[in-house]
């Protein structure tokens, strides 16, 4: 069954569709009643704090886990009855995975491609190409024990994106990577999406979500609290600036949230910010910033309060 959805760029086949999807561990729900869909050929992100249900969602869709409730389709195939078909069309990079220290990057990518059914000669050239694109060519024949943790993550990433899978699941692929390497990885992922492949990536890094994603699914406590296009979400958020204050007390007449002993005050524009700061005796311990995805998430999960 092929499903169509209306999105901001017109009609397109869905990469993923879930209805009431859930996974129970013992008597605790890791994911509950998740209903969302993801467009094809885009970078989609599952965002949320640790324990929000991101890994469980990806593992269910990658057919690593069996759902306890609900229904899901991946690339038009039922994850319950057509999981074998799905496995041919996807790749998955687990969150805490690491390559074997006895593998070289070239061996890891090449022989993983062969294990996925690629002929030897093709596998060799594809492996070389992706290792070069990820900046790993000079480490190509070094064993894992000589490589940094970041380079090992990049090898796993190369293993996940080198097969021409239609849908790539990446569970926190950039965790532990330095800033420069993150940019390299983001560039590569954009290239993958430009080739028409779909990426579903999990992260708790809201900045990464804002810089890289086209489509977002917010998760909190095992539940989907929002899914939609990043542009739509940013456009709808009414507050363009925020003041981060080392002060727990709410501010009269302005929406704010207390986080970790600090208070974030939300402002619609710079005029409102100027007016507020003009009323203060001191500007110490106050930081004015543009709002970001992090603020949208906090507003969704916590809700603003008014004094």
């Amino acid at each position: 069954m092929e499903l169509f959805t209306l999105n901001s760029e017109g009609f397109g086949l869905e990469a993923v569709r879930t209805v009431g999807l859930g996974k129970k561990y013992g008597d605790k729900w890791g994911l509950r009643d998740a209903t969302f869909s993801l467009p094809r050929g885009k970078i989609c992100m599952l965002l949320g704090p640790n324990g929000a249900g991101k890994t469980t969602t990806v593992k269910l869709l990658a057919t690593i886990l069996k759902p306890s409730s609900g229904y899901a389709e991946v690339l038009g195939h039922d994850i319950e009855s057509e999981y074998r078909v799905i496995r041919r069309l996807i790749t998955y990079m687990p969150q805490e995975a690491s390559i074997d220290n006895n593998w070289t990057p070239y061996e890891a990518v090449k022989w993983y491609l062969v294990a996925r059914g690629y002929p030897y000669s093709n596998a060799s050239s594809i492996a070389r190409d992706w290792l070069t694109r990820l900046g790993l060519d000079k480490y190509r024949d070094m064993c894992g024990w000589r490589l940094s943790g970041g380079n090992k993550r990049k090898i796993l990433l190369a293993m996940a994106i080198a097969p021409e899978s239609e849908l790539v699941f990446l569970d926190e692929p950039t965790s532990g990577l330095d800033v420069e390497t993150k940019y390299v990885v983001w560039g590569v992922l954009r290239d993958v999406a430009r080739d028409g492949r779909t990426i579903l990536l999990t992260t708790h890094d809201m900045k990464e979500g804002e810089r890289l994603s086209d489509y977002l699914v917010f998760l909190s406590n095992g539940e989907v609290i929002y899914h939609g296009w990043l542009g739509d979400l940013l456009g709808k958020f009414p507050y363009k600036y925020r003041l981060l204050m080392e002060d727990r007390q709410p501010v009269n007449g302005l929406p704010s949230i207390e986080v970790g002993g600090n208070r974030i005050v939300y402002l619609r524009d710079l005029d409102e910010a100027g007016e507020f700061l003009g009323r203060r005796d001191t500007w110490e311990s106050v930081k004015l910033e543009k709002t970001s995805l992090e603020d949208i998430y906090l507003n969704m999960v916590r809700g603003v309060e008014y004094a």
Binding site: T63, S98, D100, W111, A115
Partner: protein
């Protein structure tokens, strides 16, 4: 053809640790030479023949029980099994791939055995020994995996499979003849797969045995059925 690729891919990745750390293989060579001297010194020619048999039969069992199960467990710790699950690799591809990946050990076991058999003018029984070894390898892998799959914390896998391997090869009549045990203990002790298969091997090599061929075959078929049934209930390839 694609199935072959899938198996070869898993096998090559599995084999890397042996190729990169050949001292493991050196350990097998030292074991063979050491036991050859030890058994000849204490037991004479029959003990040396027994060594040639157990190198293949018991060697393959240990490989299946210990190393195949540990390789699977290691992949679980490294989460690499999940990368194979979310791929066209099937459980049988993965399993056969791991067995082939560690088969460098098998080659060394066979080569060591072949040298002894050649010297004893018994080289013609090697193909039969290898067949028995393969049965032991499969049974050992199955039983190892059954144990491994019940372990919640995969870092404890070698703590389970190592003692199990020692228990099933040192205590039953694998290194020593079953005929030295009193009846009916000699028959009961041969119920463990490597001991049963060693009885068959001894029969082929012309050494005295406690089990008749029919008894040995019945026990082996029983083990195959039991292990296959247990594994098919326990082993899942994703979708847990």
């Amino acid at each position: 053809m694609r199935k072959l690729h899938r198996i070869v891919g898993v096998a090559v990745l599995t084999s890397r640790w042996i190729i990169r750390q050949p001292l493991w293989l050196f350990q097998v060579a030292v074991f063979t030479l050491g036991f050859l001297i030890l058994l000849f010194a204490w037991g004479g020619l029959a003990a040396v023949i027994n060594l040639a048999l157990l190198l293949v039969v018991s060697g393959f069992w240990t490989l299946g029980l210990n190393i195949v199960a540990q390789d699977y467990g290691w992949n679980r710790i490294m989460k690499l099994d999940e990368m194979f699950i979310a791929s066209p690799v099937t459980l049988s591809d993965y399993f056969i791939g791991i067995i082939l990946g560690v088969s460098l050990y098998n080659i060394l076991f066979i080569a060591s055995s072949a040298l002894i058999l050649l010297y004893l003018d018994l080289i013609h029984i090697l193909p039969l020994l290898v067949m028995l070894g393969l049965i032991d390898l499969i049974l050992g892998s199955f039983i190892g995996l059954i144990a491994v799959l019940r372990v919640r914390n995969p870092t404890n896998i070698s703590a389970i499979t190592n003692p199990l391997s020692t228990l099933t090869t040192i205590l039953p009549p694998v290194y020593y003849p079953s005929t030295i045990l009193p009846y009916p203990l000699n028959k009961v002790a041969c119920i463990v797969p490597p001991a049963t298969l060693m009885e068959v091997a001894r029969g082929i090599a012309g050494l005295p045995t406690s089990l008749s061929p029919l008894e040995s075959i019945t026990i082996i078929i029983g083990w195959i059925l039991l292990a296959t049934l247990a594994l098919s209930r326990l082993m899942t390839w994703g979708r847990e």
